[in-house]
Symmetry: C2
Subunit: 225 residues, 2 copies
């Protein structure tokens, strides 16, 4: 093991796999090899071999030809990485003045390099925050998640009022655009209209009416007020 690798053998590649598997197992059941490979920019055969190694290390539970889920130990590491990613994002935004559409890339570069003390210090400086700049929940140190009442904007009846809580994408261009339209966490809105046949979604913001496509609108989660 190289000296710059974590003593426990938990290196960057491992953490990225666990991170991806965590996200893929959030909604559905198991994470399948092809999806994991695709998210990591790797061939399915490469991912398959790596998954077997992760299973040997008891970080995932692997059912051949079926898919993978995280073990408690794997989940712990995944949540730690996600916590760090989101803390760094918020730090970059609040302390260092980066725009919300810029932080994901830099945070990705830093998330696996953070030391415990650095993580804790950022957490303190930010006042033990619960969400990243995009509104994703920041897991606590113990792996638990803060409470949230986020519902998809598009699931609400026309006329509903609420506060944007999360914009669920890492796409820099979309974030930049939505930010320019005044659509970001903390903003109070009213859902004015959803045009049929995948038509525009009209939203009342403090700055006026904006209309966006449904592909963007479905990224928005709100807390109903």
């Amino acid at each position: 093991m190289a000296h710059y690798t974590d003593p426990a053998g938990v290196n960057d590649a491992t953490l990225h796999y666990l991170d991806v598997i965590y996200r893929l197992t959030q909604q559905g059941e198991m994470a399948n090899t092809t999806d994991i490979a695709e998210k990591l920019g790797v061939t399915p055969s490469g991912a398959s071999v790596m998954l077997k190694r992760l299973a040997e290390r008891k970080l995932i539970q692997l059912v051949p030809y079926k898919g993978a889920t995280l073990t408690p130990q794997g989940r712990r590491l995944a949540l730690r990485t996600i916590r760090r990613h989101r803390l760094v994002e918020l730090f970059l935004h609040r302390v260092m003045g980066f725009a919300w559409h810029e932080v994901d890339d830099h945070a990705h570069a830093l998330e696996t390099a953070l030391t415990d003390a650095l993580e804790d210090r950022m957490d303190e400086m930010l006042g033990h925050p619960t969400r990243c700049p995009h509104g994703h929940l920041i897991p606590r140190k113990d792996g638990s998640l803060p409470e949230a009442n986020d519902v998809p904007l598009l699931s609400l009846p026309i006329g509903s009022a609420g506060v944007i809580r999360c914009v669920d994408t890492d796409n820099s261009d979309w974030l930049k655009y939505l930010g320019e339209q005044g659509l970001y966490p903390g903003v109070s809105i009213v859902l004015k209209d959803i045009a049929p046949y995948d038509g525009p979604v009209t939203i009342q913001t403090p700055e006026g009416l904006v209309a966006i496509g449904q592909n963007l609108a479905k990224l928005i989660y709100v807390e109903v007020s």
Copy 2:
């Protein structure tokens, strides 16, 4: 090449080798294999193989059985790493409130993970600083070094007055101790006495007289006033 490796193939290991070679070639001539290996915590045989690869990549000039020096390209990368290390140290100290004896480890973890934008933003936030918390010079983006008139404290005649500019060590314990004695960059001092036979060095600080061993005193560099 893994996706988390720099496109140019400039990964952590490479940067650490270049960093070490830069420091070893500062004073003397060439950096020899054994010294490089020792600084990196690696066997000489391992270092030997790696050095050959670095030479193939034109990052060092290697004279077999003699030693290595950096090529202009290698020096550029080494200086970039050193710049980032020292900027991060200062950032951790000034912005994040870490003590000067704590920053080296964290900076080492972060230095190779920094993106260009992050480096630039830190530089801005810190007001384009020229020295790390220990007083080492921060190379500029173009690879040039700020001017400095640092002389070893122990090279001065008794009675000399000056300002501490650099404390040349990364040893956390020593730094903590010297900091507690009021000996750190920016402090005005007078050299009161150097006892013979490796005896104590007595220094007048704004807070009073302190006596330290010559092993510690020789780490201190001052600008004579």
